[in-house]
């Protein structure tokens, strides 16, 4: 019965990854630090999501659940918590083509990225989900916090982010 459910759901999993690949990659991009590339982290997120997929209980949206896995994997990699389970997954089924940005866009994104990077780890994990336009309820469920607590925290983090980016871009 369980085996049947798992094999049936692999198409749902595939679709969810396809739908959220850009969002997941953006999160990986923020957390990637030398020697890990965003592509390495992205592949690890997909692999860990697949490993945990059988335990997905459909209490939340599959998309929200994927964000949860992504935040956990990325933060663990950043804090180097995975001594036993080093990130080594290379999946040939995923290919990356990274193009070049125009200068203006690059400058604005780099300013945003550097402002996110100066936040502490817990604030950073909240803000990336906020930028992905997740609701406070969803962000709360990912972090194990109440919706209200997320709202209060986001008010302060948003102010910090805006102050920083305004200073950087001078606008």
């Amino acid at each position: 019965m369980t085996i049947k459910r798992k094999s049936k759901d692999s198409t749902v999993f595939e679709q969810a990854i396809e739908d959220h690949k850009d969002s997941l990659y953006r999160i990986c991009h923020i957390y990637a630090a030398d020697p890990l590339e965003p592509a390495d982290l992205f592949q690890e997120v997909v692999f860990q999501a697949w490993r945990s997929y059988s335990s997905f209980e459909e209490k939340s949206r599959l998309g929200t659940w994927l964000y949860r896995v992504a935040i956990n994997v990325c933060l663990s990699a950043k804090l180097k918590l995975n001594r036993k389970n080093d990130i080594t997954v290379k999946l040939d089924a995923i290919s990356f083509q990274i193009g070049k940005w125009d200068e203006k866009r690059d400058e604005r994104y780099e300013a945003l990225k550097s402002c996110i990077e100066i936040l502490n780890e817990s604030d950073k994990s909240l803000v990336v989900l906020y930028l992905e336009e997740l609701s406070y309820k969803e962000i709360g469920s990912i972090h194990g916090m109440t919706e209200n607590h997320v709202a209060v925290k986001m008010k302060r983090i948003r102010k910090k982010l805006f102050d920083c980016i305004t200073k950087k871009l001078g606008a």
């Binding site: 850009d22 860990q48 663990s76 918590l81």
Partner: protein, 211 residues
């Protein structure tokens, strides 16, 4: 700058990254990776058991052929200790790595608990990994009797004189002290900073913003 603009900059950042997923291949590859990971863990576990069983057989043979009573007893106790070490390491490796699908706070708590257990295992090495074999070593060395009572190739390497016994035990004690120090050092340098880092992130998540 407005909020919408910020979100736009964020979302546009992935415009230049084209990720192509070959879905049929991806699922097959993910299944293969899972199987290979499980296989790797299984092989490592088998290796640990085989090495311990070989050690147990070795001590059983010595216990059988050696004529000295206390040395026999020490060999049998060493076999019991080998079995205990296998059990201790097995139960430690059964502690699963945290589930990445839990909420961030719960996952960090689980991970912290896992790291604390590992650190405790290393910090307590003296009591379960060093002291029991050292006691059996003392029994073994002092159990060895006079050389003329037993004619065997093994008898040429056993310590018969008190000075030989003390020298051997001193060397063993120094070696064990080094292992204890190495393990405590590993607990301090590998686990303690990670535990502190997790606590810092958890504190950030739970801190009230009312100040």
């Amino acid at each position: 700058m407005r909020e919408e603009e910020l979100i736009k900059i964020w979302k546009k950042s992935s415009d230049m990254s084209h990720i192509t997923l070959n879905m049929p291949l991806l699922v097959t590859e993910l299944r293969n990776r899972m199987e290979s990971l499980d296989g790797k863990i299984g092989r490592r576990d088998r290796r640990e058991i085989i090495a311990s069983v070989v050690g147990m057989i070795g001590f059983a043979v010595i216990a059988f052929i050696i004529p000295y009573f206390w040395t026999k007893v020490s060999c049998l106790l060493t076999i019991v200790w080998f079995a205990y070490v296998i059990y201790r390491l097995k139960s430690a490796s059964k502690d699963k790595l945290p589930d990445t699908s839990l909420s961030l706070f719960d996952q960090l708590s689980q991970r912290k608990q896992y790291l604390m257990k590992q650190a405790k295992l290393l910090n307590s090495v003296f009591y379960w990994y060093i002291l029991p074999p050292f006691i059996t070593n003392i029994m073994f060395v002092f159990g060895v009797g006079q050389t003329d009572t037993w004619d065997s190739p093994l008898s040429s390497v056993l310590p018969y004189l008190l000075s030989e016994k003390l020298t051997m035990l001193s060397l063993i004690a120094a070696f064990y002290a080094y292992i204890t120090w190495m393990n405590r050092q590993a607990a301090r340098s590998n686990y303690a900073p990670l535990i502190r880092e997790i606590e810092r992130v958890q504190e950030g998540l739970t801190r009230s913003e009312e100040e």
